[in-house]
Each structure stands twice: as C-alpha cells, then as structure tokens.
C-alpha cells in the first residue's frame, strides 16, 4: 500500500514535470519566434528616427526659406495679435546685456529710424504702473513676435 501509493506519487510528480517542461519548451519556442519576428515587424510598421532613409544614401536637404521682407509690415489677423516681424532678424541679439531690436523700435529711436514703436503696454508693469524703460516681462521680443517665411503650412489652419 505504502509502496503503491509511493509509486502513484511518483507518476503524479512525473506528469507534473512533463507539463512544466511542455510549458518551458512552448515559451522558449514562442520567445524565439518573437525574437526573429520583432526586427521584421519594426522595419515594416515602426519607423526609426532615421525614417525610411537608407544609411548609405545621404539625407535629403531641407529647403531653407528666407524670411519675408514686407514693406509696411503684415496685417494683424485679430486686434490684439502681436505684430509679426516683416524683416530678417538673424543678426539681432537679445540677451541680458543687449537687445538689438530696441535700437530701432524703442520710444526714443523709432521716429529717427522710421520703425514702428513698441506698444505702450510694454512700458508698464503688470499692475499698470508706467516705466521709463521696457518692462522686463516684455523684454524678450521673440516670445510673441515672429518672423514669417513663404512656406506651406505644416498643419492645415482654418483660423
């Protein structure tokens, strides 16, 4: 009895081992299949940062657009729109030390340089207190004002 049951125990254990081995083999096979398939799937559906460009072919150069030069400036699209910059600003620098935009657009210089004056709101604190110098929160012109290029829109815009 004792022995029989012992035998029985053994066969049960053996059956369990077989099941585990089966699972291990299955997982291994599945893993191997995945590993072979994964790069295939990547090249097909997922694009790398390089895109479809082949390594041995040189990347396509993008066409650099020159900034638009418009006499009289751009029309605003809505009343409070920050006016867009109708000239090249590649040589302009805005830093802690200097702001080359205000060489022409400041209260003092705009008449002499025949340039549009910086808005009065730019000489005010947020509490409406008037300042003699450009407010620090308006100092970085390109935060709101941008030059324009004659390029097709990247995203459709119906504004």
């Amino acid at each position: 009895m004792q022995r029989y049951s012992n035998n029985n125990d053994y066969s049960v254990q053996h059956g369990l081992m077989e099941a585990v081995m089966k699972k291990v083999i299955l997982t291994t096979v599945a893993g191997a299949v995945m590993m072979i398939q994964a790069p295939l799937a990547m090249s097909g559906d997922l694009a790398s940062l390089r895109g479809d460009n082949k390594l041995e072919v040189e990347a396509q150069m993008f066409e650099a657009k020159k900034p638009l030069q418009v006499e009289g400036g751009f029309k605003r699209s809505w009343d409070l729109q920050p006016p867009q910059i109708p000239h090249d600003i590649s040589k302009d620098r805005v830093s802690l030390q200097e702001n080359t935009c205000i060489r022409c657009h400041s209260k003092e210089n705009h008449e002499k340089e025949k340039a549009p004056e910086i808005g009065k709101s730019h000489y005010m604190t947020r509490d409406g207190k008037e300042l003699t110098k450009l407010s620090t929160r308006r100092y970085f012109c390109r935060q709101c004002h941008a030059p324009q290029a004659d390029a097709p829109a990247l995203v459709e815009n119906t504004f």
């Binding site: 802690l96 030390q97 200097e98 080359t100």
Partner: protein, 198 residues
C-alpha cells in the same frame, strides 16, 4: 706712422663702422617690422584666452566672418590701422593691454562683461576720431550701390553718398550707426554712447 697710412687706417675704420651700421640697421629694422607683422595676425590676437573666448566667438556669428562672397575681416583689419605711423602709435598704446593682461583685468567672463563698456567706448571713440578709417579700408560711400541695399539702409546712406560724390565731408561716419556689428554690445551702451557724444 706716416700721415698717409694714418689716413688709410681712419678711412678703413670709418668704412667698417658704416658697413656695420648698415647691416645692424637692416637687422633691427627688419626685426622690428617682422615683429610688427607677427603681432598683427588673428592667430596672435586669439592666443590670449580673453580674446579667443569672448570677442572672437562673437565675431564668428557675424557677416564679417562668413558671408556670401567668402571675404573675411580678421581682428587687425578693424583694430589696427594699416598706415605705418598710425599702426606704430596703436602698437605703443597696446602696451597698456599687456599691463592689463598681467593684472588680469578681464581674465574671467564676468570681469570681461564688467569691463566691456569701457573697452567698447574707447574703440568707438578711436573710430569716430579717425573717421572710421579701418572700415574704409574695405567700405566706401563712393562704391556703394544704393539700389542693391535694402530700402531702409539705402535711405539712411543716401545723403552721405551724395555728399561723398560731391567731394564734401559726409556728416556721419560709419561707427555713428554701426556699433556692435562684429561684437556683442555692452550693457547700457546706448546711454553711455549718447553721453560720450558718440
């Protein structure tokens, strides 16, 4: 010794002295000019980190460094006069720069920024006093084609170009408007320049 042989010795001595003088003259003069030319290169200017790390980096962003036609202005083209007498005068003044190099007046970025206004003002004063002579080594009112300039620049140049054509002295010189075209501007430059009458 007979008087004739004495005379001969004297003559020999005189000619030797003359020859020695000429040779020494050539060596010294040549050496002087050679060292002038040596210190008149961009390589020499940026051998000091004060120039290389600050103003030279700024120059590289500008049209005087790279442009459409591939002409480049290096440090001495704008900062050292071409004519000999003015060049020597500037070189003598530059000995003050050696003194400040030893003192370390501008040996950090912060010190350089603090001192930038002083340096810029002195250079603007020099250029205003000599009618922007170094600009004019390349740029001339007479050779400007206003048609090819942008309308804003052309408008501003126009009266001066006509003055120059008529043989009159233009009322403005380059540096009056063109400050900070090759280097960054110092903080508070506009007020300081106005105060100094530049």
């Amino acid at each position: 010794m007979t008087p004739t042989s004495k005379k001969r010795v004297m003559m020999g001595f005189a000619s030797m002295t003359l020859l020695f003088g000429i040779v020494l003259g050539i060596i010294l003069w040549g050496g002087f000019n050679w060292s002038l030319a040596m210190t008149n290169t961009e390589e020499f200017c940026i051998s000091c980190h004060e120039m290389k790390d600050n103003v030279y980096q700024e120059l590289q962003e500008t049209v005087h460094f790279t442009n459409r036609t591939g002409v480049r202005a290096t440090c001495p083209d704008c900062h050292v006069p071409k004519e000999w007498i003015y060049k020597v005068k500037r070189k003598i003044q530059a000995s003050a720069e050696l003194y400040h190099k030893m003192l370390g007046t501008i040996d950090t970025k912060e010190k350089f920024e603090d001192y930038r206004l002083t340096m810029a003002l002195s250079e603007w004063k020099r250029m205003k006093a000599n009618d922007s002579r170094e600009c004019r080594n390349c740029h001339n009112y007479e050779s400007m084609d206003l048609e090819k300039q942008q309308s804003r620049g052309a408008d501003q140049h126009d009266p001066h170009v006509w003055d120059a054509m008529d043989g009159k002295n233009p009322t403005k010189t380059c540096i009056d408007c063109h400050k900070g075209i090759a280097h960054h501007l110092p903080k508070g430059w506009e007020e300081a320049a106005k105060k100094a009458g530049l």
